[in-house]
Symmetry: C2
Subunit: 344 residues, 2 copies
């Protein structure tokens, strides 16, 4: 009998989905991207779903319910944007234990509502039931894009420029900080007040991430169509390997081009952790990773908040990072894997 | 602080969803029916979602994983048929604890695949992660129907005939049988062999329900368009009250018209339970409950597997069942409520 942890989430998904061929005309693209692509009428419909479980994906000892609701919605919006689409509807299913009050659930939904209002998304359904275990949140998001215009992971071509939005590693460092303060608080007793001053940015990146609608709009305005795209939820290394595997290409990214905020760097120093590892493998950044043809080099500079971090190569060159001192290190997917670790 | 059990699932949903207005043009109808109705292109897209939690919705001591997978898919297909639509795609998210092997997950997916093949549905996405608690299954189903042709719960009119497909109470009796055998087995030790002979039908209704595609096809063939429809998942009484509340009408149903299989009746006698209570409140029947104009009386008889059980009245007459001896009893929603009981 095989252990699930040996195969990992992606191995398991591969093994199962090869047994599920698509038969319906309206099923354009199934498992294996940020969202499924469905063909309904004159638009393509995008569908993505995420399951968030207490004790695995969040810890209620330091995640406020309102933030949790907000984030649950945002991570799904991010998947739709990562296809080049616009999120339009969500359904939310909850499993709640008896220790939750109606006010708790309303607080969670307040976060969901705020996210929906910010991003113009409608809540159209769901399912709420008791849970004998922890809190369970399942969100499905439906979005749309022009027919045939969804941006998948499999279109990157050699010489394409690799771009990423925002900065990386901050959400991971925010989590380290929250976990440290939680440990200190547990031993210090009830009078303990955590000191988060000067660390607001990394906390917000962990607790209240945003989906990069602005980047999608910026690209559209400039008339740039990425050849491949996905959002960075499991860490940049892991996502780069996904794009390269799906596209049948290799890549080179430069350590000194990876965007990192100074709060992230300070926190890594304070905790004596490798900054580049945090940025490459931290995860939960919800930034957009994408590739564009080399000919778009100048136009990309017109879109705010994007950094060019490397280029796509022929497949035989493999996937590697070039360090500041010019050495090449193969990329490894050390991204967050819910089957092998509870959190990084 | 309000307890969730005081408000119940529907009270909670009402309270939350009134704060979520629909804003997008593509959001036709949101929370409050079997599925949401979305307007994408020349078809209406239906979306429904269900969250199944170990210990609440299923008990792995007597539910085989393959059946569980099958049923998880079917209950969602049933919601799409209950809107008069055709299910086309599903996404499946799983939370699995470390005691599960890859083979266990594959067995679960085998059931899902069988259901998908039977009903012509494609698996297009999902999410799999670890769970520190029990098994969590979240399924979202996407279906379609002709524009404006989705059948909601709010269209029943006085004098309409109330119809139900198949028979009721069998799945509930199947559950009683499984729970009894499980208790006996626990005290009798490992040599115990449950005897299910002559009870195959009620077991199958519990473990391997079907969605009534045949009824939807039969109605379409006869050119009959129900004025309201939903599937019977929480029990006939509860569903009738939903339709009447949403439509602003009352109803009368006749005890002697409620379709019940003889295995259901025998089991109720064996367990000394009220047969009509099981049929009216048992739940998990996944039959279709619908109303048709009185003028369709003769044509309805051409569709196999449908029973006319009563009629719609003016709202001031309320909702009642007429017993065999001519007495009127108000209908009560004693349906399965995951917030107040683990199972009925």
């Amino acid at each position: 009998m095989a252990e699930i942890s040996e195969l990992g989430e992606f191995g398991l998904i591969d093994r199962i989905t090869e047994q599920f061929p698509l038969r319906n005309e309206s099923s354009v693209y199934g498992v294996g991207d940020d969202a499924a692509i469905l063909h309904y009428g004159d638009k393509d419909v995008l569908v993505t779903t995420d399951l968030l479980l207490e004790g695995i994906h969040f810890d209620l000892r330091y995640v406020p319910l309102k933030h949790l609701g907000y984030k649950s919605a945002i991570v799904n919006f991010s998947d739709v944007y990562a296809m080049g689409g616009v999120p339009k509807q969500i359904t939310v299913s909850l499993g709640v234990s008896s220790r939750f009050t109606v006010e708790n659930i309303e607080t969670l939904y307040e976060g969901i509502r705020t996210a929906c209002e910010m991003y113009g998304v409608d809540l159209v359904g769901g399912d709420t039931s008791a849970s004998v275990t922890g809190l369970v949140i399942s969100v499905t998001c439906i979005g749309e894009c022009e027919k045939g215009q969804a941006i998948r992971r499999d279109g990157a071509k050699p010489t394409d420029i690799i771009c990423v939005s925002g900065d990386l590693g901050a959400a991971f460092m925010g989590l380290q900080l929250l976990e440290r303060e939680n440990r200190v608080s547990a031993s210090a007793g009830k009078d303990f007040q955590p000191d988060f001053s000067g660390k607001e940015y990394i906390l917000e990146r962990q607790l209240k991430p945003e989906a990069r609608r602005d980047i999608i709009e910026g690209l559209r305005k400039e008339g740039i169509r990425p050849t491949s795209m996905m959002d960075v939820s499991d860490g940049l290394s892991s996502e780069l390997l996904h794009i390269c595997k799906k596209s049948g290409v290799g890549c080179r990214v430069y350590e000194d081009r990876i965007p990192i905020d100074y709060q992230t760097a300070l926190m890594a120093e304070e905790l004596n952790m490798s900054l580049i590892t945090a940025a490459m493998n931290g995860g939960e950044d919800y930034e957009l990773l994408f590739t564009v043809p080399l000919t778009e080099h100048d136009r990309i500079e017109n879109v705010k908040g994007i950094k060019m971090i490397g280029y796509v190569t022929a497949p035989e060159l493999g996937c590697a990072m070039i360090t500041r001192d010019g050495q090449e290190f193969p990329l490894k997917a050390q991204g967050w894997n819910a089957f092998t670790e509870k959190s990084q």
